[in-house]
Symmetry: C2
Subunit: 323 residues, 2 copies
Amino acid sequence: MLSPDQFVETHRPAGGRRSGKRDFIVHVFLRQNGHLSADELVSIIRAEDARISRATIYRTIQWMVEAGIARRVDFGDGKIRFEHAYRHPRHFHLLCKNCQQSFEFLSSDIEAHLEDVCAARRFSASQTVLQVYGMCDACQAGLPPAPPSVPLEMVFARDALRVAIATEQSGLAFYTRATKLARDPRGKKVFARLAEEEKEHLSTLQTRYRELVAQHPDVESQPPFLFFKSASRGLFAGGVDELAADGVDDREALRIGIRCERESHRFFKKYGERLDESEGKRIFLEFADEERQHFELLVREFRSLVARSRVPPARGKRRAAGR
Amino acid sequence: MLSPDQFVETHRPAGGRRSGKRDFIVHVFLRQNGHLSADELVSIIRAEDARISRATIYRTIQWMVEAGIARRVDFGDGKIRFEHAYRHPRHFHLLCKNCQQSFEFLSSDIEAHLEDVCAARRFSASQTVLQVYGMCDACQAGLPPAPPSVPLEMVFARDALRVAIATEQSGLAFYTRATKLARDPRGKKVFARLAEEEKEHLSTLQTRYRELVAQHPDVESQPPFLFFKSASRGLFAGGVDELAADGVDDREALRIGIRCERESHRFFKKYGERLDESEGKRIFLEFADEERQHFELLVREFRSLVARSRVPPARGKRRAAGR
DNA sequence: ATAGATGCAAACCCTTTGCACATTA
DNA sequence: TAATGTGCAAAGGGTTTGCATCTAT
């Protein structure tokens, strides 16, 4: 886990020279939470003590944006705001026109659809802006705006854990079923081993989840940050359904498993890479790696099965070999 | 179909007074295609002849926005652009950073996910901004930018027709199957009648589609404007799958039909209402109405079936009545 | 010594406004 | 004639920039 200073160092472009004022501005900026306009940052800097010129602050903001430390956010009210990227994944916004508060979210489903749209146009996307304007819960009810009681990072870690757990659960169900179903003893063993691994990893994740809740008791009552409807049943859920069909043999089960592991690997890798340094990123990338290993194991197993069923005396599953 | 002038008249707010200059600006604005900045509109107006002050143009743009004739579009480059709403549904944008061209699209899937997100936060949405920045097809290939050869309206009508046709096809499959499956003669008749209606309407829609293609031969080669993955198999596709399961009786089939018709009605109504005056809107609203009628017919039928199965000598389907 | 950072004030860009004048109902 | 629209120029706000002055390497 990077400290704010480390975060800045990893982003500092080569060739410039250090300056105390710039460091001070960056430092103050990273301590802020919401979306600051340049002017707001000026006020904060002035209040924090230093007398730094407006121009320097504008220039430093630009420097941070180029370095990837800050992101421009445009809410369409004439002034540009900035949010820092430290432990803060890219996201979309809900904006309350009444209290001006903003709420952040991420949706893998929406992103997947956007990818479809771009593919249909052969458009190569580099950045997406998605803002929903309206009125927030509290304002509709006439209540005062309530600042979030839990850091966003924790909510995000919670959601990442939830997807991971759902996926492990569906994976466990898949391999348990596949173990029962398998006829080839070697395949059975592989499935059993994977089921065992999923079980272990599942309990690790659940422990991690419990620890998170213990540390931040309010985290469970927070609304979701990461939306992943299509993955909410776990990325193996479809595979489990397929196993239920008639006539699924070892080979077919392996194929389904391979597909699920690949999808799962891609999903977690994609989101893990897209995230900035954070607890959520680590969970996703660890997971992606695990899925890749499973994927490779299954592929090896599949090849071995094919080889065995082709060369030695057949064991009654010839038909598929010709295709 | 409204003419531009009629469109303006339906939007003109009460209480103001007419002015030749304003009418002229509005008229010129409605003839434009893309997204104009105030300054660009000034140049066009100046070129078109009239010498109208910048301030008047700014004020007229504001007037058009308030009247719902123009919509603000902010691409985050410091100047606000405007697009007119005449035969132009609200949409999202792909923006090419290289050639500055913009491409428009609509996605019912993304909108559905956004509704989920808002619901989870109890956020009441009033407006959504969705822009994807990147590089377009032509710019990636090093080709000159190609303006669209078919008016957007036609592409939209094409896509609306496609959803409608897919839905009719799945509806036809549903009712054909349900007719075969039904045991109650009266229910059978209702399903058969609906199958017949779907068939007729399907051929009407297909004719309409062919006419559209005949009028605008290029329309089929255009990339999609309206994305509707979840509805692309037709809104009855899920219902057809359900009919395939074991133990589906008349009552169950009616229930599934009712659900599909209701969903379908809602889908088309929602999109129809959201659209501005256009061919697409008409298709959607006609369709929504049709689905509502089917829905009501099925509900009546369901009630009648329940009444008959409860009061007179039973016909072997008691079990469900108790629940 | 020299490229880079800072401060100040002026310039910039887009947009809105105050006020006198013109137009419409 | 009374309310509304127009023109002009000036003001407004957020942001960038030219230039002289510092400061880190």
